[in-house]
């Protein structure tokens, strides 16, 4: 019989906090489920496996060993052979080469870092990744140096909002890749045009998003500061910026995620470089396991950066930490890394950021 007030078994309670243990289980499961689906499709032949790899050609004249043909064609040829009393071909069902099984990708993940590139002037995987991270950092840092102060100004003063935002709003709709040719013409074929594209892709969103965040500062806090004698510049630096800094930080985390999408476009501009070059090169050699490994690598870098930044946020902004839990009382100098640390973005704080931008 259920005991009143004890609903530990309610996994789907609306707005109910799940226990930390349960949260962790679900987090792990969120990765395990797609992996399991992938493994099923890869290892259980009758689920998909649309091709047949020929193991012995039999009497089919154009079949050769290790050739992959569609199943229907294979059956058709064999039916012909059987009708003419000739030896049918033999083969095994396989998935297309662009759909490698998990173990191949896992192996590639390990070997990709250890295998030297085919050509002497090609970069190693870690060099490619380093190049990409460098590009994205430059683009994001330069964008932030201009975008954050401008966003804060627009959010604080109507004057700057009216002066800047209509143009920014217009420019935001121009797709960053459209500037590729222009960037190359102006900045050459190496890294500068790539950084410029990340800048264009990030900057205008950044100004609008941060301006909106700053506008949301509780006016009562500003009034309270005014009655305490804070005047113009002090209001900006002592009230408006501190009051919005945590939300700005969250915005920056999301914007950094967007910057990664522009990276792939940017790296195609001029001479192809970084992780995009690696992916293209491997695809050309038909090493699709390496392609998947490289794509997964981007995900891992992005996700772990975000986790790190989330944790860093709880260190930098102690007033945003939730009420002391038992865990935190024990070691209050070290905020928990998981899973509460990622809560701010996924939870209630930023559900309508897209809506803000689309406003």
């Amino acid at each position: 019989m259920p005991v009143a007030g004890k609903n530990n078994h309610d996994w789907l309670g609306l707005k109910k906090e799940l226990s930390p243990r349960r949260q962790l289980q679900l987090t792990v499961l969120s990765f395990v489920l797609p992996l399991a689906a992938w493994a099923l499709v890869s290892y259980v032949p009758f689920l998909w496996h649309p091709l047949v790899r020929v193991t012995s050609a039999g009497d089919v004249d154009y079949f050769i060993e290790d050739m992959e043909v569609p199943r229907a064609q294979f059956e058709q040829e064999n039916a012909k052979m059987r009708a003419q009393n000739m030896t049918p071909a033999e083969g095994m069902r396989v998935n297309p080469v662009y759909f490698p099984p998990p173990h191949a990708v896992a192996r590639a993940f390990y070997t990709a870092f250890k295998t030297p590139p085919r050509l002497p002037n090609e970069p190693w995987l870690h060099e490619s990744l380093g190049h990409s991270i460098r590009t994205i950092c430059w683009g994001f840092v330069i964008s932030s140096i201009f975008g954050v102060p401008l966003g804060v100004l627009c959010g604080t003063y109507r004057f700057f909002a009216r002066l800047q935002e209509p143009f920014v709003e217009f420019f935001r709709y121009l797709p960053a890749p459209a500037f590729g040719a222009l960037c190359v013409a102006i900045l050459g074929i190496d890294d500068p045009p790539k950084i410029a594209i990340i800048f264009i892709g990030t900057f205008f969103q950044q100004v609008l998003v941060i301006a909106n965040t700053v506008r949301k500062v509780d006016p009562a806090l500003i009034e309270a500061a005014q009655t305490l004698g804070a005047s113009r510049l002090k209001l900006l630096f002592k009230v408006i910026i501190p009051a919005s800094i945590t939300d700005i930080y969250t915005d920056m985390r999301i914007l950094l995620g967007w910057a990664w999408t522009y990276l792939i476009v940017a790296e195609v501009v001029g001479t192809m470089s970084g992780i995009t070059f690696f992916i293209n090169q491997q695809a050309r050699y038909r090493n699709f396991d390496n392609v998947y490994a490289a794509i997964a690598m981007i995900g891992i870098i992005g996700f772990s950066t975000d986790l790190f930044l989330a944790w860093l946020g709880t260190v930098m902004f102690p007033w945003k930490r939730r009420r002391a839990s038992v865990l935190r009382k024990k070691r209050s100098w070290f905020p928990p890394l998981w899973p509460e640390a990622i809560a701010p973005v996924s939870d209630e704080e930023k559900p309508n950021m897209q809506a803000d931008v689309a406003r």
Partner: protein, 301 residues
Amino acid sequence: MSLAELKLPDYREQLPEVAARFRRISQREVILRVDDLKKSFGANGSEHIVFNNVSLNIHRREFICVIGPSGCGKSTFIRIIAGLDECSGGTVLLDNHDVSGPGPDRGMVFQGYTLFPWLTVKRNVMFGLEMRGKSHVTAEAEARQWLDMVGLAKFEDLYPHELSGGMKQRVAIARALANEPRILIMDEPFAALDAQTRCQMQAYLLQIWKKVDVTILFITHDLDEAAYLADRILVMGSNPGRVVEFIENPVPRPRSAAQFISPEFLSLKKRLEELIHPPVETGEEEKLPMIKLTVAGDEVE
């Protein structure tokens, strides 16, 4: 039996000591002088008047409560005095100087606490002091004193979200008082608190007021609160907002909860009830058009 039916003395009858106290107060200098204040929206043709003809003088260390039905403009009135809104006519003089814009000489405590969430309790109290250019060390020492006074010294390193509502409001009071304002404006400061905490806070506030040279202008919609705290009660009416009466509170000081059933208290409260909730013509409570949904004989009253 309702308050209206009770046989009570006139609320204007004052005990000798109460009358003497009001004479003493009226001899003190005037801190706040409000003359023919008016607030309205819109152009002359379709003007909406929030309130007009509001005039009053407040003397040093007086405790004034402002009550009135919702929509009478009492919040707007004190926001104008605080400098957060602009008036449409009339003058507000603080120490004979025109008020323009908010300033540290008029401290304000809001209903919604408005503590700075990124600052610890101590830094919150230091905020105004630092804004006025005091050094960190001086500000810190003074903030500690004020926190001591509101009894929160040992919570100085907590962040606001770790405090209860009553504690937050005490920090807000300490923060406002640390600036040593000429007048402390409080906009329904205890309305969000539960009944028990509110009683405590009222008692705290009286204690603080006795110890500090400050004049208090306190907005409330709670008649008991007004009668318990105030020297004089400014009753405002609505449509348009105006001063209905400026009542001298006949309840002697020091105040205590025991006075809630004293004849002076009840006569004052009766008068306030009459002003705020004028008797309905029919005298009959309006019946809700509700069909009975319970079993016959299963009555709650």
